[in-house]
């Protein structure tokens, strides 16, 4: 301890009594006018509205609300064999991504968005993905699923300005992902080169309100730790703009974890439980739960419906992630769907 520090400690001897006196007065403070706002909570006293990013996204920024329900089925045609062909154009670019209002992350992404477009097809479809690298670094697309080695996006690195066509039959059905597999992996994935890849079973799934939720995070100051966590890139987006559900409406959430730097992420639902289908590769439920832990690259399909009206949070059950942006909300409204 330095002399000045010592002096500081000494100082407290004198001021201690005064401080203690003040503290006592504070504890006995009667509630002031305005203390009853926000369900009896004044600002700074624990309301969920306080733990939040301030402001709104700039116009033209990536919109998580639109992304949530958008599925890219590709350009569909039929091959002479009768097989369905789905063609996609995917371009890797560099751009600024608004990950919280006013915070711009120098992203790399597919088709100018993070996560990239949600590629959706049916098991057995022929997929043809035309990839162009318009970035300044080499990139690839590595799809999870069955395909030949040269369609794996691991060794056929596409140089800046180059292109490559990935072609394979979609299998197995389930919820998968795609991402860049160029080294250094941490950098390429964390910058935003990833997306969800859904292969529907041939017999289809029951009708439901379908939502894509990619759990991701951003290390905005590049210190190897994330400053921002989210589903679909923007911190607190679905808390500020809740997802509206109808009473009794069947919901199917496609949840993929692409969080870099942290080993796991999780998905906790309030006031409800969901049927959990790990990787979506089996039509019988794996578990009935309200919390699932997913490693990076792990994913699960969650099915549920609400029997109560009102606002319900859903978030990572790692409080740190939740508090740094991975906090979201459903608002359930009646009357119930027929």
């Amino acid at each position: 301890m330095s002399r000045r520090q010592a002096v500081k400690w000494g100082a407290l001897g004198t001021v201690g009594l005064a401080a203690a006196g003040t503290a006592c007065v504070q504890r006995g403070r009667p509630p002031a006018a305005g203390d009853t706002l926000k369900g009896g909570l004044a600002p700074g006293h624990g309301s969920h509205d306080d733990m939040m990013a301030v402001g709104e996204l700039r116009r033209g920024s990536f919109d998580p609300t639109a992304f949530l329900t958008h599925f890219d089925y590709g350009r569909v045609s039929t091959l002479p064999s009768g097989q369905t062909l789905r063609e996609y154009d995917i371009e890797a670019t560099e751009f600024e991504l608004e990950v919280a209002p006013g915070v711009f992350f120098p992203a790399w992404g597919y088709n100018g968005q993070v996560p990239g477009p949600t590629i959706r097809c049916t098991e057995g479809d022929r997929l043809r993905v035309h990839f162009t690298n318009s970035g300044t670094h080499p990139h690839t697309i590595h799809f999870h699923g069955f395909h030949p080695a040269n369609m794996d996006g691991a060794f056929e690195v596409v140089a800046p300005g180059g292109s490559y066509t990935y072609e394979f039959d979609a299998a197995p059905f389930g919820l998968h992902l795609y991402h860049c597999h160029t080294v250094p992996l941490k950098r390429h994935i964390h910058k935003g080169l990833y997306g969800a890849f859904i292969i529907d079973p041939k017999e289809g799934r029951l009708p439901a309100r379908e939502l894509v939720m990619v759990m991701n995070a951003f290390d905005t100051n590049f210190d190897g730790e994330n400053e921002i966590y989210a589903v679909n890139s923007v911190a607190f987006h679905y808390q500020k703009h809740p997802i509206e559900l109808r009473l009794g409406e069947p919901v199917r959430a496609y949840v993929v974890n692409l969080t870099e730097f942290d080993p796991i992420n999780s998905f906790h639902l309030h006031g409800n439980f969901y049927r959990l289908y790990r990787t979506g590769t089996n039509l019988t439920q794996h578990e009935f739960t309200d919390n699932v832990m997913l490693c990076q690259g792990e994913r699960a399909i969650l099915e549920f419906s609400y029997n109560h009206e009102g606002p319900f949070l859903f978030h990572a059950h790692q409080s740190e992630f939740a508090e740094l942006g991975w906090m979201a909300m459903f608002v359930v409204r009646g009357p119930a769907l027929g």
Binding site: M1, S2, R3, R4, Q5, A6, V7, K8, W9, G10, A11, L12, G13, T14, V15, G16, A18, A19, G21, T22, A23, Q26, R29, A42, P43, G44, H45, G46, D49, D50, M51, M52, A53, V54, G55, V99, A100, P101, G102, V103, F104, F105, P106, F218, T220, N221, E227, A235, F236, E320, E323, L324, G325
Partner: protein
Amino acid sequence: MADAAAVSRRGRTRIWLAALLPLVALLAFLLLFLRFGPAGVFTAAFPPVEELTITRVTLPDRGVLRVHVVNGGPAPVTVAQVLVNDASWVHTIDGSRTIGRLGSREITIPYPWVEGEPVVVRLVTSIGLTFDKEVAVAVRTPAPDARYVTTFALLGLYAGVVPVFIGLLWFPFLRNLSRRWIEFLLSLTAGLLLFLGVDALAEAVELSALVPTAFQGLSLVLLGLVGTPLMLAAVGRRRRESGAASPVYVALLVAFAIGLHNLGEGLAIGAAYASGEIALGSFLVIGFLLHNTTEGLAILAPVAKSRVTLGLLVLLGLLAGAPTIVGAWIGGFTYSPGWTALFFAIGAGAIGQVLVELARLFPGGERGSLASPLNVTGLLAGMLIMYLTGLLVTA
């Protein structure tokens, strides 16, 4: 004669023009550079460098944090979001979110901080950079009310004024000492001051690191450290023709230098209390009292053999001790590491000059008594006393 005067006037005009010429050229070049560039060459290749300094975090009330932030970097910075203890938090800013160069803002955060636990405030800028400040122990920041003012007046009194005055009570004892022992005490004083000077300089350098870059903390310290003794020397030269300064002058100088040191100390104490860095420990005041009593002795040594009025003694005591009170008040209400570093540097510089003046009080010449065994012992004893009473303070 009139002709000669005109010529000399013309000559002077020419000299002034010659002095202005480079400045005019500089201005012209700057205008041309800004107008025609190529300024882009120097900026385009680099990402914007952002630099914010959180100079102060206060806790004015339960559930409220107030953050004072300064942009000490080369470019404007936009504060986009605020995190408190790794949680995104709502907040308000007293002005635009974009802070210009050398601009400052106050950010108010309704955060339910927990008494006695640390709070870390993190500002996230528009490009995702982060700037942090930790409050080591969260306690409510004292409001600038009568109780606070009184508390710090008392603190300054105990820590600065009382010990100095107690030290002054040695005066009758000093008057009866022989020249030899007075010199010993002067050496002792030099030792005490050397200790304080190094302490003040170390504090100044340490604090200078917390100063926003644009304000160049270390340069501030250098200004105080070198400027103060030079100014004091110039003032001293006016007061006397040659030779050693008058003992009263040296005593005033000693008191002044110690006062400056104590002002810095007061600023630091006030700020530490206000920002919750200090915790309870009343027995330490006793150590502090012992530590500072020696300062009174240091002030007295130069005037031990002089005619001194009671009024002068009181003046000396106040000069040395009262700045602690003033420092604590200022530090508690508006703390700035820059000012505190500057005051510590000024204190260190003043002490340097005092040491020079003290050395002059010793008989000069080749067989000068400055390095006599007794006086060297005094110097070392002075430093040792500070060191040992310092141990008491840290106990």
